[in-house]
Symmetry: C2
Subunit: 352 residues, 2 copies
Amino acid sequence: MKKISAAELKAFAVQVFTGCGVSQEDAETTAEVLVTTDTWGVSTHGTKAVRGYAARLRVGGLNPKGRPKIDREGPGWAVVDGDMSLGMITSIFAMKVAMAKAKVNGIAMVTVHNSCHFGAAGYYTWMASQENLIGMAMSNDIPSVAAPGSKGAIFGSDPFAFGAPGGSHPAMNLDMSTAVVAGGKIRLMVAEGKPIPDGWLLTKEGKPTNDGTMYPYQASLLPMGGYKGYGIAMMIEVLAGMLSGSQVRDKIGGWLDEPLSKKTDHGHAFIAIDPKVFVGLDAYNQAMSTMVDSIKKEPVVEGAKPLLIPGEMEHHKRAAALQDTIPLGDDVIEYLQTAAKEASLPLPKCLQ
Amino acid sequence: MKKISAAELKAFAVQVFTGCGVSQEDAETTAEVLVTTDTWGVSTHGTKAVRGYAARLRVGGLNPKGRPKIDREGPGWAVVDGDMSLGMITSIFAMKVAMAKAKVNGIAMVTVHNSCHFGAAGYYTWMASQENLIGMAMSNDIPSVAAPGSKGAIFGSDPFAFGAPGGSHPAMNLDMSTAVVAGGKIRLMVAEGKPIPDGWLLTKEGKPTNDGTMYPYQASLLPMGGYKGYGIAMMIEVLAGMLSGSQVRDKIGGWLDEPLSKKTDHGHAFIAIDPKVFVGLDAYNQAMSTMVDSIKKEPVVEGAKPLLIPGEMEHHKRAAALQDTIPLGDDVIEYLQTAAKEASLPLPKCLQ
């Protein structure tokens, strides 16, 4: 474990991306998303991914000069072509379009095709909440999750995020996988040599296993809540995949898999809603503050702290990380060190 | 168990509602929703509820002459006042408004306050799918589900439904509770004398129990997937409650609880999306057909049938029920017989 300041971590990520031909502006935007995710303690979706993105940027599986653009649009909707640029660049672009349209229209939805892995879905919903809007974000991905009764993987561990202004409290921000657990958590436990709990993994014969090294090629995750996680993943495939014209299910490319030079064509969907339009911002903020206050007063089981609001733990971790440093596990440090090596960059002091 | 034709069941429900002062048209609309739900085999949310709705209609906790109306609206949104009419009347009204706006706008959202229990959320999303639209429907409800770490119930088992046209297949229609299991299922198992499985119920001290008779007053349900179900329920509280101006959490009235003469003020949210606007209906239908075809070919565990699409089982049950009769459990028959008695109606032949 190492403790690294947000500024140092961001500077390093920017250096890797610009070294791959990404503009200074796009490199900074992408690094900001990833470092913010690290400050939340969500290290599976933070700068750990820099190495994988860089590998694609170098061989053409991501376009360092890509410019996302609107294919088609109307007052409350748009379809965006990601132009194979970094998923974070395209997703911020798309969420901003959704947010601007929602302010006029009450609600707006923007779908994205020709994109790749977009990091943490919760970044884009948090972005909306910081401008007093409600946001939803979702993405499809290569199959890694079984369905009730299947032997193999049917859908990705497709993420779903929902963010909303918190009134007098920090923003609510839910970011969840539709698998029983995120695939990144399995990789992390394997790296840490931990066994995988019952009910998480299924072999290709549809039998339970606790061997995390079998994931993702020899084992699938189980869906969250059985048919519910399977159903929500299918919803995401419809909204992010079919309504964007991206690839769907096993036709999507794995962002960490060969061929790294070929586009993955992930699809995303972003929805923004303006509470001001529906009920006025004051009424909304008051209702949210009152609800959170009342939840904080609910009795908890012995030894537990007051109930958490989704995103609250991440909010406090971020505040501490910005005040001081971000604690990053050995798995992340190793990826960052390899990223430096592969980019032929001298190892920065913070990673030594 | 009795087998009743859809026509006889509907005629009986219409008779009960008109006897409470509901217009013939509204009685037929409401009965159609409930009987359709019964044909799907979802008997917890079908005509079993007639008795409870009638009890409220008689004493003013539902307004038999209520007319839902739009409070405020814009091109892509509306807020509807349910006027304390039957939840089904208001919800069909609201979903129709959302559908009409989505056809122009790509996406639209309509929230509802001053409503009550709205039956099966999946009815409204199915309605959208029958007109080549995608739908989402959700409702808040009185707390019955614990949060991770809580002793008592925090949110309702708030339903979330998603429906989408199925291309060459029946519509996809997901209708799920954000609790680990729907409360109605607990009531049903209690009625059938079955024990409640582990991991479903928590006492007021936050301890596990298998005693279904403790639900809902002495025990809460557990949320689906831990913090995920808790988070989705909070999302529903924001969209259906705060964006409609309805009551929230423990301020909502229980639709089966005293005082039956007081409004419950549930909130709902309906979202409609037009795939035609985003990618064209042909491209959408082709993508959906291809995906479902490919899922149907996936290998399944020994003895299992091909994977199901959400709503598919209900679709086939409905076809069989319309061809022949609807099989209704003793719990439903008992409620219907009591409804006849309380309405001072002669017991119809099908219930004898």
